[in-house]
Amino acid sequence: MTAEPPLRDMKPTRTHQFVAGFALALGLLASVALLNWRQTGRMLETAALVARTHEEQANLTRLLSLVQDIETGERGFVVTGEPVFLESFEAGLSAVVEQERRLGQLILSDEQKANLRALESLIAQRIAVSRRDVELRRNAGFEAARQAVASGMGRAVMDAVRAQVARMDVAQQTLLDQRSAAALRGASNTVLLTISVTGLSAALLIAVFALVMRENRLRQQAQVQLDRFFTLSLDMLCIAGMNGYFKRLNPAFNQTLGYTTDELLARPFLDFVHPDDRAATLAEMEKLSRGVPTISFENRYQCQDGSWRWLSWKTQPVAEEGLLYATARDITDRRRIEEHLTEVVDQLRAFKTALDEHAIVAITDVRGTITYVNDKFCAISKYARGELIGQDHRLVNSGHHPKAFIRDLWQTISSGRVWQGEIKNRAKDGTFYWVATTIVPFFNEHGKPVQYVAIRADITERKQDEENISQLNADLQVGAAQLAESNKELESFSYSVSHDLRAPLRHVHGYIEMLQRDTASQLSEKAQRYVETITEASVEMGQLIDDLLAFSRMGRTEMRESYVDLNALVQDTIRGLEMTTTGRNIAWQVTPLPAVAGDPSMLKQVLANLIENAVKYSRQRDPARIEIGCAGEEEGRVVLFVRDNGAGFDMQYAHKLFGVFQRLHRPEEFEGSGIGLATVRRIVARHGGRVWAEGALDQGATVYVTLKRSASA
């Protein structure tokens, strides 16, 4: 197959050979025909010459006979004198002239013409002899005549005539023989030539035929090869007409599109083209019709199952055939991959854009040489890109970090792990900046790192903040220490109050008692009252001290938050007040309360203080009405209220209600130290809530507290 020259190149040479061979054979045969034609002409000429020769000879013989007739007539007359002989003599004379004329017409060769003139002369002599004899007879009689005849003159001339005729006969025969021989020779030559030339032509034709046959076989073979390729091709191959129909399709069309060949041939191929691609396809067809080949044109074809395939066309129009030779490739998958890749690339570009917007990015090679920096890197380091590329990060090294830190970084990333940490760098202008850094190593297929991508965030401000915070923390620690110190002082103060203030009080009380005991009988009534007052005052003071201590303790005790059932606390409190409430007419109105989160003992104290107050200030009412319930929510906290219909208070003094030892009533009206609501406020505040009161003089009061709703309830 490789020995065969390419079919396309072979074609002109072969055709030339065929044409030349045929022309040569045709020329040879034509010349043979010409030769034969000429030879036949020559043969015909020879045959005509033979006939003429025979006619000449016959006319010669007749001429001789006519001359003899004249002699015979002359002699008869001479002998007889009978005039009848003169008649034949005379007839012979005219016949001879006629015969000589005819012969002159027949004879062509100059030699024979000369011979004929000589013969005519001899005949004329003889005739002249005859006439003399005849005249002698008539005039001189028989004897004279007979003597004249006997002289033999007549016979001699006659012999010469005969000899001349014979000579002419021989000459004619010789000419005939020569011509016959030439004709014969020409014929045999012609036959030889014809045979050889015809043979040559036949050989040529056979050769050409063989060539044609061989060419044909090669063509068929090439056609078969082409057909195999046509059938085999993964690409779609087709021939289409300018009329918009396919003419021939290879099986790849069926495989790709799913239609049978007949289905594809039955409709204009534009029918299969996606509607959106039809205009472009038509434009491409228009170009093809102008003879412009299509190199790479893409459109969508519908498959038999309704799906679409992207095809890439390469088409060569052949104007003289009115055909399009086209190959199409199914690039659907490629396009899908391309689209996917485009998407991925777009996505990555978006990521990069976002990343560049957000972060400081640098890429270094495996030796740490900077190969890429983004704008943010330049901005923070104050170096131009050109000053950074090709350098390594020592350029921005601040010297802040110990060598071990840098070594750990390199060990981490060169062993393939991501390094994260905070680095202090120095910018070109000598200022320092902090970056939270993530360095990610990337590997080649052998698992060796090829480059490191470092993403950084500027945390200089945060670092400064941290510094400030640590300073603040240090300050705070000092403050806390001071606070602890003052707390301690406060504790020792209240300890002193508890211990040292109470002791003298106790002594006052004790000694007054002893005085009263020892001297009771000797004291006047007035003095007795003084002693009693001193005792009462000291008891009062003891109560004040205890309340103050309790209040102080409330601010310092540790809080233990847990689930608190307010309903149970309310019931306990009311039950605990039975001693006080016995004999009173109190209408309790308690609605169910939600569970709250708080310190149970503290909250119990809150409820106790509020309910005790309500009981105390409503004691002049009959019936006293005390309401405990929930008044909705405030900022997510339960609002609890305790309402009474008692003495109430003037709202203009409401702000004094929750102060320590602040009282809105005189002691003789209502006993108490004025510490209860202060304690309530302190406890509620420690629970993150607030407390307030509403009321009017003699209209009763409502105290509200907000408490945290229990998460577990």
């Binding site: 508890s498 211990h499 040292d500 106790r506 002594h507 004790g510 002893m514 000291s538 003891g542 205890d546």
Partner: protein
């Protein structure tokens, strides 16, 4: 009536001491009350040091111990008593004006046998002292093997 046992009263305040003695005396509960005025003196008495180096009698039946005192405070006295193998069985009743939780807790942690807050009102105070004295000096049986036990056996 059984012989009343000796009580060691550790009290810096002479008035409180007088009131305690008065209360004990009123109820005839004290045939012998040794009053020392601060923690240091209490330790000298109990460990027979300084002025009490020559003390030959046994340890008291109970120590009534005030907490807040100059020099060595009551908690330190309590700690030393309870850390001493010979003294740790000696009953110590803390009698103080303090209701502070911290004081209560520390006292019991150090091994106090009782904790009594001195009432402000004299009646209540006298009542409290009477009950404390009566219980520890009369009703309560002192721990065996103490010096007190030996004295009692001898007498």
């Amino acid at each position: 009536m059984d012989a009343l046992q000796r009580i060691l009263l550790v009290e810096d305040s002479p008035r409180d001491a007088e009131l305690v003695l008065e209360a004990l005396g009123e109820h005839h509960l004290a045939n012998e009350v040794v009053h020392v005025r601060d923690g240091a003196e209490a330790l000298e008495y109990l460990f027979r040091r300084g002025p009490f180096a020559g003390r030959s009698n046994g340890q008291p039946a109970v120590v009534l111990l005030d907490l807040k005192m100059p020099k060595v405070d009551g908690l330190e006295v309590l700690r030393q008593i309870k850390n001493d193998p010979a003294l740790k069985l000696l009953p110590v009743v803390v009698m103080t004006s303090s209701r502070e939780e911290q004081d209560l807790l520390t006292s019991y942690q150090h091994g106090a046998n009782a904790y009594v807050v001195k009432p402000v009102q004299f009646h209540a105070f006298v009542d409290a002292v009477k009950q404390v004295g009566g219980f520890w000096a009369v009703i309560n049986e002192p721990p065996p093997g103490s010096l007190l036990g030996r004295e009692r056996a001898r007498s």
